[in-house]
Symmetry: C2
Subunit: 184 residues, 2 copies
């Protein structure tokens, strides 16, 4: 493996900034099989995944940034309910979900920039309910990689729909070998 | 697992159509760490992946469709060199590669539509150099899932760059558990 890279705030922000447009390009206007089909019982379809990303914007990332900056290690982050908003997301259209995610992400990135974080802030510490002590840079890096985890999952959920249709080529298509390690 | 879906030509085309815009939204203008870094020795970075998709447009998908329609099982498809164009792609900018991929995909989808394929054509058979007999629908489904395999790979290659930066959260981020089953 190549050496992974150090965290860099502007480089993380640039990934976070483009996720809404990436999801819109990938999903907006797709027929039902690509957005309403999942990988089987108790798995997520594309709409559930966008709903989960919306939940993160509301309840997870920036609220935890604020908790960390205000309280350090003395206050544990509120737990993040990974299944939050799944019900609400099922009552909206995919277009509504994509627009809502884009709006919330834009607001959250504006709030992040308004904090005017300095390099020394990135080592400040907070308390995760199960992982223990974490740093602000770890939290922000995780926000970006969480986007990528769900893009990884989306490509897998979509590919699953053609698992049989590809016939013998399935042996060559890596995404079809992915056994759900990136499930919710 | 949910029952996978039957192949449907318009539904496959809609996925193939949007891949160039998805890749552009995800990658265009990103700083070097996200597009020039790979997962270690003999692995691909984002630019290599786009170069490989370009090679598929030139040498693989539509050429094989034509071979199948013209020769059926009597002529084996030309083998696809998965490493073709890696060198050329390393001499171009990412923006050039994204534009070239978009142009070639558009031309190939126009050529596909011009074939005016009928439902009965989808069961026509061709000969793969190692998989043996395959059908036209399997070839076209594979073209779409191949896009998704490389989107899956792109998200993993990008996430790898922050493997250390996320600290203890790495245990929760599925994309970081992906062991490269979707490698080239």
């Amino acid at each position: 493996m190549a050496n992974p890279t150090e965290f860099n705030l502007p480089e993380a922000i640039v990934v976070l900034t483009r996720t809404p447009a990436t999801l819109k390009a990938l999903l907006s206007g797709l027929p039902g099989i690509w957005v309403q089909s999942n990988e089987g019982k108790d798995t997520w379809n594309s709409m559930d995944i966008v709903g989960h990303l919306i939940a993160g914007e509301c309840n997870d990332w920036m609220p935890r940034v604020r908790t960390l900056l205000q309280h350090g290690e003395t206050r544990t982050f509120d737990p993040f309910d990974r299944f939050a908003r799944l019900k609400e997301s099922q009552e909206k259209s995919l277009e509504q979900l994509l627009d809502e995610f884009a709006r919330l992400r834009k607001e959250n990135l504006a709030a992040l920039e308004a904090l005017n974080l300095q390099p020394e802030d990135l080592t400040r510490r907070g308390m995760h309910p199960s992982l223990g002590v974490v740093t602000l840079s770890e939290l922000l890096a995780t926000w970006a990689v969480h986007d990528l985890t769900h893009l990884h999952q989306l490509s897998r959920v979509m590919a699953h729909q053609y698992r049989d249709a590809v016939g013998p080529w399935s042996a060559y298509l890596g995404v079809l070998q992915c056994t759900g390690h990136s499930a919710p």
